[in-house]
């Protein structure tokens, strides 16, 4: 059986890895290549690089670092941020990324999902869903790379989940914005509810602060992977430590 994935997420801004709290106040945490190598050696199942400057400033991710990552790691990685067209996607994939993740451009033009999936295969196409509750109802947010540009759309999370699957998405990352960087655990209720209507791989994001949070999300929901940043960036726990605790709790994991 396929194992549950632990996925460090590296937010990239101006060529450095940064981390914010609830999508703001970003601080530099290190070099892209050093962290990619470190996490890969420590047992990460894949890596996600999210260029937060690209998605808000309208530029495609600077391509040089993507090919450098491909040179130093031999596990899969996904690049997100600023990918708006089939040409942008092709460029990133040709530089060695295995997947591309899109959020705002898919909300603006859902057909883009279908176009990308037909061209590169659904396994390349990840849809990032940044979600926040408004009056108890989960809505999609766009342009979330910076607090200044982020805004709520009128698209409901469960409607969007169904639609992206119909259009050929290969994976979804569910990012609970309220949980980001605050280390209170994943949003179990949201993940349970979206998981019940999802037949493609689904990744939990936002809120991981200790190994128990990973255990909770894998025991209580049907997510296929858990994405985390702060817990690994601050060296509070290593990926290997988290994986050992998961294994001790009978969760199917690659060690």
């Amino acid at each position: 059986m396929i194992t549950k994935r632990i996925i460090p997420c590296l937010d990239v801004k101006e060529g450095k890895v940064v981390k914010g709290v609830q999508f703001k106040n970003h601080k530099i945490v290190g070099s892209i290549i050093d962290l990619a190598q470190k996490y890969s050696n420590d047992g990460a199942d894949e890596l996600v690089f999210y260029d937060i400057s690209a998605s808000t400033e309208g530029s495609i991710v600077d391509k040089e670092w993507v090919s450098k990552i491909a040179e130093v790691i031999n596990i899969p990685f996904c690049v997100a941020g600023g990918i708006k067209s089939i040409e942008d996607a092709r460029q990133i994939l040709n530089l060695g990324a295995d997947k591309i993740s899109i959020n705002t451009p898919a909300l603006n033009d859902p057909q883009l999902i279908q176009i990308l999936s037909n061209e590169f295969g659904s396994q390349c196409v990840v849809i990032g869903m940044d979600i926040k509750l408004i009056d108890g109802q989960a809505y999609l947010f766009a342009k979330t790379g910076s607090e200044k540009t982020a805004f709520a759309t009128n698209i409901k999370a469960d409607d969007w989940m169904i639609k992206v699957q119909e259009l050929g998405a290969g994976e979804v990352v569910i990012n609970a914005m309220g949980q980001d960087g605050v280390k209170n655990g994943y949003d179990i209720e949201l993940l349970k509810s979206l998981g019940s209507i999802c037949s493609i791989p689904m990744i939990a994001s936002g809120g991981a602060g200790e190994p128990q949070h990973f255990i909770d999300v894998f025991k209580q929901t049907n997510v296929d992977g858990a994405l985390a940043a702060t817990i690994f960036h601050r060296n509070e726990y290593s990926i290997n430590q988290v994986k050992k605790e998961l294994q001790a709790n009978n969760i199917n994991i690659r060690i």
């Binding site: 059986m1 396929i2 194992t3 031999n74 596990i75 899969p76 994939l93 060695g96 037949s199 791989p201």
Partner: protein
């Protein structure tokens, strides 16, 4: 000893090239018939769809060239699918080197489609046991278990993770993305085939 990686348009060419380079092999990415026919090893990498890979091979006039190869050949993921007679992915007629069809995983059996992530591969024969490990998969289509299966994994049911027909080896996973396990698998391909 030259390794020819057939350029069939997929996006993982550089990753496969790098994985071969670290085995200390000389490697070329090529569409040239003579280069392919004269190589010591040939790799058919595959990302995209069976249809796009077959169209690319057709456009480069490589269909007959590949069928006639006698050195060890490794097909990766879609590169393995196209070795078969037919793939259900966009109803694609394939190379017909290996008899059988490629089917789609059915998501109604509580598994996610595509299969994406690390799955445990178990080899049947004692001589391959050292290769039992977790490998990285990203696929919606698969080959059923047959007499040609060397290694298998589970995703709703058992499926063929590694197959062999004469000099043609196929792996459903991506060795170039499978960390140390993938490196060992490729070492085995170059040194034991």
């Amino acid at each position: 000893m030259t390794v020819a990686i057939i350029d069939c348009g997929g996006a993982n060419l550089r990753s496969v090239q790098k994985a071969v380079e670290i085995q200390d092999m000389k490697v070329v990415i090529t569409k040239d018939k003579n280069t392919i026919s004269n190589a010591s090893f040939v790799i058919l990498p595959g990302v995209g769809s069976a249809k796009s890979v077959m169209n690319n091979l057709q456009d480069s006039n490589l269909i007959e060239t590949i069928k006639e190869l006698t050195m060890p050949v490794l097909g990766i993921c879609i590169g393995m699918h196209v070795l078969f007679d037919y793939s259900a992915e966009h109803n694609t007629e394939c190379l017909g080197i290996v008899s059988g069809n490629i089917k789609k995983f059915d998501s109604k059996y509580t598994v996610k489609v595509p299969q994406m992530g690390w799955n445990k591969v178990t080899f049947d024969q004692e001589k391959f046991k050292a290769l039992d490990n977790y490998y990285y998969f990203a696929n919606s289509y698969y080959s059923q278990i047959s007499d040609l299966t060397l290694g298998s994994a589970e995703h709703s049911e058992s499926f063929a993770a590694v197959i062999q027909k004469d000099n043609f080896l196929g792996c459903q996973f991506h060795p170039e993305k499978s960390s140390f396990a993938g490196k060992k698998f490729l070492y085995h391909f170059f040194n034991a085939s």
